[in-house]
Assembly symmetry: C2
Homo-oligomer: 287 residues x 2
Amino acid sequence: MRALSRQLVALLGRGVVPTGQPIATADDVGLVRGDGCFDAMRVLGGGAHAVVENLDDHLQRFEQSARTLGLAFDSGAWRSLIAEAVAAWPDLPEAVLKLVLTRGPELNPGVPTGFLTITELNLDAMRRARAGITVRLLNRGYASDAFADAPWLLGGVKLLSYAVNAAAKRVAEAHGDTDALFVSSDGYALEGPTSAVIVRQGDRLLTTPTGDTGILDSVTGRQIFARAAGEGLDTAHELIPVSTLFESDGVWLASSIRGVCPVTRLDGQQLRVDHDWNARLAAWGGF
Amino acid sequence: MRALSRQLVALLGRGVVPTGQPIATADDVGLVRGDGCFDAMRVLGGGAHAVVENLDDHLQRFEQSARTLGLAFDSGAWRSLIAEAVAAWPDLPEAVLKLVLTRGPELNPGVPTGFLTITELNLDAMRRARAGITVRLLNRGYASDAFADAPWLLGGVKLLSYAVNAAAKRVAEAHGDTDALFVSSDGYALEGPTSAVIVRQGDRLLTTPTGDTGILDSVTGRQIFARAAGEGLDTAHELIPVSTLFESDGVWLASSIRGVCPVTRLDGQQLRVDHDWNARLAAWGGF
């Protein structure tokens, strides 16, 4: 992977700082325990004309993650910091805005660390993925109801503790695939390491329910479902057996950054791909 | 919890740096994805007379964690950094040495971030815990064989992605208990968030096997078992049903920092506590 070329960094309570300057101390539990949360969305353009896509939805999910972790959250401070950062960002076609909140330094308890980055996206890689990806099924080790009555498992929180997601992606790539799709130990499709799964059966769209499954509530998935329902399609949140993926009329992995990517091959097996439906889902997702 | 009072920080490839100085950039995937590993051990005393407990064992486990994550590891560089740091550390009764290695900055791929901290231990809290702890059972959501053939789940790796462990501890404390003990979805004792479980049945000691369970290989647990076996006791690594905990002659949570802590109450139920056995296990564990 080539190094991404441009990045802006800003600290909550302080503003834009030089890129590449260290910002977290050695005792920050975000760093040493992955104890914190994040959220990510696209920035289109920069300066006065920049658009932060679905900012309200992402900020709301970010706040929900923070509150589940018991971290104080100041929505107004985040909005101000985002506005300052985006105004200082150059006019590039696509970038990713990442918001990060950690429980803060262990030696200074009760003072969370908040920061954001805006990073230029590799457009070639994005375009390739939006045209089609190949995916490997990986067992997540959890049953589809593992998160029921287990708040300590932090289901639905976009955690900084993301090492398994990163490892799953590396394993998929080692198999020659683009990405992974997690499967529950009882055989249902869950989510990708950084995406939601959407399945088409005729005029019906399916996705995995949040809640007991522990998966993240996808902003892009929610938007696609709202617009599809608005056009009269049947949409449902229900557990999707792996066999259903192979028998479906289309499978997509949807995320706010990479977009709505049609899965062309799953575990080495070709899937049905319909270009009209790809275009519809991409448009509904804002891509 | 009171703030810990003294800390030393040193960077791999650079040496000791001022405490409290930020050391990780905003794009370090150790910070934003918990993508890295750590290990921790006690330092007794400081300067020329300091003893780093079980350094070889911890360094070996740390290297194993790094290699499982595909991170380059230079054992000699770590030993030099540890020697330099310990020499600069004041002569205090007990401190914790933590070694951290992350996959490094996303914008500068292939350059891991390595650092260590030495932090003064709160001796009062340690002494209280070594005298006895109360523990809450929490379902970890994984079956006892969930990590078989699933290397992407990173079983046995002391990951920076530790948010669930931290959350479990908070939930236990909210119940008025000292700590948690994770249970598999099929009803076996796994490990504490930062400790191994040891159970006594007469002259027999049991602990949970590593491997398919995904639990960490405990340096202290291994040492206790080696010394117990040397004194003729029967020791076994086998799956421990939760009911066995309640019917046993003693349960301990063992870790390199907090020591070998007898569990006096489990899920609100008193357990058998034998002071002679507590003393034996503590001595075998080096406490």
